[in-house]
Point group: C2
Chain length 234, copies 2
DNA sequence: CCAAAAGTGTTCAAGATACACCCATGT
DNA sequence: ACATGGGTGTATCTTGAACACTTTTGG
């Protein structure tokens, strides 16, 4: 067999850290992660990141999207490669290298339970996680850090919001991710000055107080700004 | 064979983009990359990034350091994982996924030619590269972008300088990486205000003009600043 | 004494921060 | 009428940008 690799090969997997923002408890907005309860050894019954083996005829991105769809029912979501983990003992069975991804979802509009195979999938707050299988705690932590730093110079936070959102929701999202309070007036001033959100003319419904205006992310404008060497900073 | 992966596996390699700064031509400071001339098919005789297959009993970082040492003689240098490339046709022989790294070296103090196996290694200016094997042009470009953005918020640039350097060298380094001119007075003011470089008391030797003061990077101070949530920005 | 690069301050504009009250709506 | 969160402006401080001349050294 000419031109082929003669050594034993590590196995190759992908794992995905799926983040979502929970706005349910009005004031207790928090960041959530999707986990899968394993039904096979090792770590049977334990919680792990969605993921699985990479096939020889699919790209890494394709593998990540396929596993995500198969295990959680989520599709067409923001997905980005995070880091590749290759420590020796990370899988007790054999040598497995994993290419980790992270994904951002807005919960409204994606039905996780619609999946065929999602019976074991569940959301957890990042601040209250169960013990995780393999080195997944480390993977998750790396993803969390990445999200925190990336959100400061790219508007990926919008991926976590519904299409129409209030400025207050946007602010809470940044507060949760950056883990500090932001001044309401300064925050609104800055976001509006950037002109990357657009008023829809609509307002919130069914709230027991003055209804907030709904905005949406103006990607066209953002892309134009980015090309001119623009820096998104909150 | 219980607990083992039943599908065919992609092969796994590491490739390393080694950057160095060339201060030789006084005014024509430029960024260089190390390439290896291949002596096996495919792309025999072509230029490629140093790299090779990952063994089952070494971590990815270890594989990168081993290949670097074997192919270029470089060791104990700054090395960081970049991105994992897994496009389907990237290696004409078979499916190969590569974990790319980038490395930073200061040329004084590392003798590339000392290596046993470095007869085919050479430095190229990033602005004047030969055609590259596989998808290495893309890998190199990704590394270059990463260097440009990372240098803005972490002082990794110092890895490209000799232990003692002049502020002018530091400025030229940033100018080359960021690809724009910086104001001398403002640059010095900012760098000195950060207090992350320390005067050594020594000065340049053998220059045909006023000799510049030599500084060194103060890592202790930098680490302390980082812990307090400090942001390095040029 | 000339060429070459080192070294040094001030002014101005823009952006960041701090801060408190009135408004609209549902119950 | 009250409770709840929405919405708004100003003053001050900090930071970044622009800018030109004198000093030192070797040849």
């Amino acid at each position: 067999m000419p031109h082929t690799y003669q050594f034993a090969r590590p196995a190759l997997t992908v794992d995905i850290v799926v983040f979502a923002m929970d706005f349910a408890g009005r004031d207790e907005t928090d960041l959530q992660v999707m986990l899968i309860q394993r039904d096979l050894a090792p770590y049977r019954g334990g919680w792990a990141l969605p993921g699985g083996f990479v096939r020889t005829q699919e790209t890494l991105d394709d593998a990540a999207r396929r596993e995500l769809q198969e295990e959680t029912g989520l599709r067409d979501i923001y997905l980005e490669q995070l880091y590749t983990f290759g420590a020796l003992g990370r899988d007790p069975r054999e040598r497995v290298v994993t290419v980790a991804y992270y994904a951002l979802v807005n919960l409204t509009g994606h039905d996780v339970r619609a999946s065929t195979d999602a019976r074991n999938a569940a959301w957890f707050s990042v601040s209250d996680l169960p013990p995780l299988a393999f080195d997944h705690a480390q993977v998750l932590d790396t993803a969390h850090q990445r999200l925190r730093s990336k959100v400061r110079y790219q508007p990926i936070g919008f991926e976590l919001l519904p299409e129409r959102f209030t400025l207050r929701q946007l602010q809470r999202l940044y507060e949760v991710i950056l883990d500090r309070e932001l001044d309401k007036r300064n925050f609104r001033k800055k976001v509006l000055a950037m002109e990357i959100v657009k008023e829809t003319g609509e307002i919130e419904k069914d709230v027991a107080h003055r209804a907030a205006r709904l905005y949406r992310f103006d990607k066209r404008r953002y892309d134009r700004l980015m090309k001119k060497g623009f820096n998104f900073e909150i």
